[in-house]
């Protein structure tokens, strides 16, 4: 097991090092090498998953890393933890990563930094796998930050242009704001539990060492971090911008893996989340799901629509976790990874075919030109819409809705509405892109089916989007038992494994099915068959709303006004304070005092001293000016002063 785990980590790491330093000189710029290394990881992950499916015990190993307590406490460790959840994540990550690598070999062809792209993909894979395999929070945090770095690098891969650079920076800083929560959580947990290891943290929670208020603070901290990474409102603003990166990156990082890390984190830390935290998780998730759905409705950029759909789906996952549908939330993570990666790669294929045209209003009727892309894309659309019984998305989403129904009915209704929206806007996307008549003949003429290295990943993912929900595999791997044995904590929301399991009630399923189908059909009707004029008429009453949606509820503007501007203002202010204040206030006082003194003594000595002595400067300078003024050169004056002081001394001596 250890060997497999190390292979999973090591292969892409080696790939990164070689690729980064030598990639340019390798034949084919080394892309094949990275595909091979990540495939090796994938194979290892599959083996691990197989053994977990076969009922193997969780695997855990840790090594002492360093001991900042100077020997007084326990050393900080790094380690590997493998259970069903890890196995699922490993397979999802390595599989999607492998397919994205493969896809990119064609997609990125001709880029001047071709080799570097693969190097960073490799690095991302390593980081993500570090995150997934970690057995403790600090270790996980390192992976967490490193994926952030890779995300930064890859979003900004084309940062010769300003937009990708800005987007990359925004992504990094926004997620870093979220990370503050993680930092606090780490500190709070270490302070109370004395360790970062998952098992010891849960143990501490059970034993009461990790208790209120720190357990709640830690829970909120973790969720805040998850909100940043998984783009939940109000920290979601970076994800749509991150679409400036190459599309395979969007598929891998901003759809399938990295953004799901937040969900993984919350799933992993389920045993210590208190009811308060869980309610917030569920609420934020539901609100985000609906809000992002609305925004997606009004976007014209194919990738932006997908981005908001990702935000929305991540909201569903959090909703699932928040209401205790643990299995459902993580299962949705898996299925979403497949169908969203599929759609992103599909959109990549389209964009590739249309010479980097991303505006859906210029597309249309591409299904005939690009059949494989089109049909696999349709599979993704159906999956996300939750087309009953056959698609993977149906099973996972249905389970989430069931959980919400049981626990927080209000959120259930929101989520249900969101499901309608999802189906509707996804169908809008599909219809605008692949159906109907071409809107821009020029683009249409250029379109062509992509090469095999791009379509094969699409086919594989398409199959998974449909089939991933079949069978009982996820029930075995994502068995709530994984977290259940860490439960039984009074502070947490769930006490037994039973709390994490929900029956699929027929009514809920029926409503979900109806929602999905309604949305799909509605979308198909409106965007395929209604046509221009009728559509405009339909839209007219909603023009105001559409504008709001199109402006993304104004989050960016809001942040500019309440965060960035004030921060810059403060920074500039502080700078002035630092240059003129801390340093110069003293100077000003000094100058004032000296001038006054000079005027009093009848000399207007305004030679401005070069102002070099600052802090220690003004007292002596004032005194000195006085002295120099006294040193008038007139000996009688000298004598008078001396005699005066002498007389004063006599008088004072008498008095004192």
């Amino acid at each position: 097991m250890l060997g497999l785990a190390l292979t999973i980590l090591g292969a892409p790491l080696v790939g990164f090092v070689i690729q980064f330093f030598l990639g340019r000189r390798l034949p084919g710029q080394g892309a094949w090498l990275t595909v091979a290394t990540i495939f090796a990881s994938f194979v290892s992950a599959v083996v691990i998953m197989a053994s977990q499916l076969g009922g193997a015990d969780p695997f855990h190993i840790s090594w002492a890393w360093f001991d900042p307590s100077g020997g007084g406490g326990t050393p900080w460790t790094v380690g590997i933890h493998i259970d069903g959840l890890t196995a699922v994540m490993l397979v999802v990550v390595t599989l999607v990563a492998f397919l994205v690598h493969l896809f990119s070999t064609s997609y990125m062809k001709g880029d001047p930094k071709y080799y570097l792209f693969f190097a960073w993909l490799q690095m991302f894979s390593v980081s993500m796998l570090v995150l997934v395999l970690a057995d403790n929070l600090l270790h996980l945090f390192m992976g967490w930050e490193l994926v952030g770095l890779c995300s930064y690098k890859l979003i900004g891969f084309w940062s010769e242009k300003p937009a990708p650079g800005n987007a990359a920076r925004k992504a990094f800083i926004t997620t870093r704001i979220g990370d503050l929560g993680m930092v606090v959580a780490i500190a709070a947990i270490y302070m109370t539990a004395g360790s970062f290891e998952f098992s010891k943290i849960f143990e501490a929670a059970r034993s009461g060492a990790l208790a209120d208020p720190w357990i709640t603070i830690a829970g909120f901290g973790l969720f805040f971090a998850a909100m940043g990474k998984s783009a939940q409102a109000p920290l979601h603003v970076w994800l749509p911008d991150a679409m400036e990166g190459p599309t395979p990156v969007s598929a891998l990082i901003h759809a399938a893996t990295m953004v799901a890390a937040g969900v993984y984190l919350i799933g992993r830390f389920m045993p210590i989340l208190t009811p308060d935290v869980l309610t917030v998780v569920a609420t934020v998730g539901a609100v985000t799901a609906v809000m992002a759905g609305f925004i997606a409705l009004a976007q014209d950029d194919i990738k932006k629509v997908l981005a908001y759909s990702t935000v929305s789906q991540l909201g569903y996952m959090f909703l699932g976790l928040g209401v205790g549908a643990w299995h459902a939330g993580l299962f949705h993570l898996t299925t979403h990874a497949f169908f969203k990666a599929l759609m992103f790669l599909g959109s990549g294929s389209v964009i590739h075919a249309c010479h980097h045209e991303q505006d859906m209003r210029k597309m249309g009727g591409l299904l005939k030109k690009m059949p494989i892309t089109g049909w696999t894309f349709l599979a993704g659309v159906l999956a996300i819409a939750g087309l009953p019984f056959i698609t993977a998305g149906f099973f996972s989403k249905d389970a989430i809705l069931a959980g919400a129904w049981h626990r927080l009915p209000f959120l259930y209704w929101m989520a249900l509405f969101g499901a309608v929206l999802t189906a509707f806007y996804m169908m809008r996307l599909f219809a605008m892109t692949f159906l109907g008549k071409p809107r821009d003949q020029h683009v249409h003429d250029h379109a062509h089916e992509s090469p095999a290295s791009m379509t094969i990943p699409l086919l594989i993912l398409g199959a998974l989007a449909i089939c991933a929900g079949w069978g009982a595999w996820h029930g075995i791997l994502l068995n709530p038992e994984i977290v259940a044995d860490a439960m039984g904590v009074t502070a947490t929301g769930f006490k037994t494994v039973g709390d994490l399991e929900f029956e699929h009630s027929g009514l809920v399923a029926a409503m979900a099915i109806t929602a999905g189908v309604l949305g799909l059909l509605g979308g198909l009707y409106v965007f395929r068959f209604m046509g221009g004029a009728a559509l405009d008429r339909l839209k007219r009453p909603f023009a105001g709303l559409e504008k709001v949606f199109h402006r993304k509820f104004g989050f960016d503007e809001l942040y500019r006004e309440i965060a960035m501007r004030p921060a810059y203002g403060l920074a500039k202010g502080f700078r002035v304070v630092d240059e003129k204040g801390v340093d110069g206030a003293v100077n000003v006082i000094g100058r004032f005092a000296r001038d006054t003194l000079a005027a009093l003594s009848g000399r207007t000595d305004r030679r401005v001293v070069d102002g070099a002595v600052h802090l220690v400067g003004w007292v002596p300078r004032v005194l000195g000016a006085g002295m120099n003024a006294l040193q008038s050169g007139r000996v009688r004056f000298y004598l008078s002063v001396s005699a005066g002081v002498l007389a004063l001394a006599l008088v004072l001596g008498r008095i004192l």
Partner: protein
């Protein structure tokens, strides 16, 4: 009225003050020197008076003699310097000598 120590001392103090005022008030260097002589003689008066009314001995009077000599030497040197200045500037107004200041 018998003349006692206190009378001498008061006269001495008056002499000293007069000397000091002269020094401070006059711009002419020679006048300043005269003021200084007054101050020295005030001290001399004190010394002699103390001897006369004090526990005895002639230390104070000897001191006063030495002071006279010193005063003469000092005045000689000072006048020499004044002459030198006068040679150079044709005046001995001390207020005019303010080349060196600050």
């Amino acid at each position: 009225m018998t003349i006692g120590l206190m009378h001498y001392l008061v006269v001495g103090a008056a002499l000293f003050s007069a000397g000091l005022v002269t020094v401070l008030a006059r711009r002419n260097a020679v006048a300043i020197l005269i003021g200084i002589e007054l101050m020295l003689n005030a001290a001399n008066l004190n010394l002699v008076a103390f001897d006369r009314y004090g526990p005895g001995g002639v230390r104070g009077q000897v001191f006063a003699l030495f002071v006279l000599v010193i005063a003469a030497a000092e005045a000689a040197v000072a006048l020499a310097i004044l002459l030198n200045v006068f040679d150079a500037r044709d005046r001995i107004d001390v207020d005019a000598m303010t080349n060196l200041k600050g």
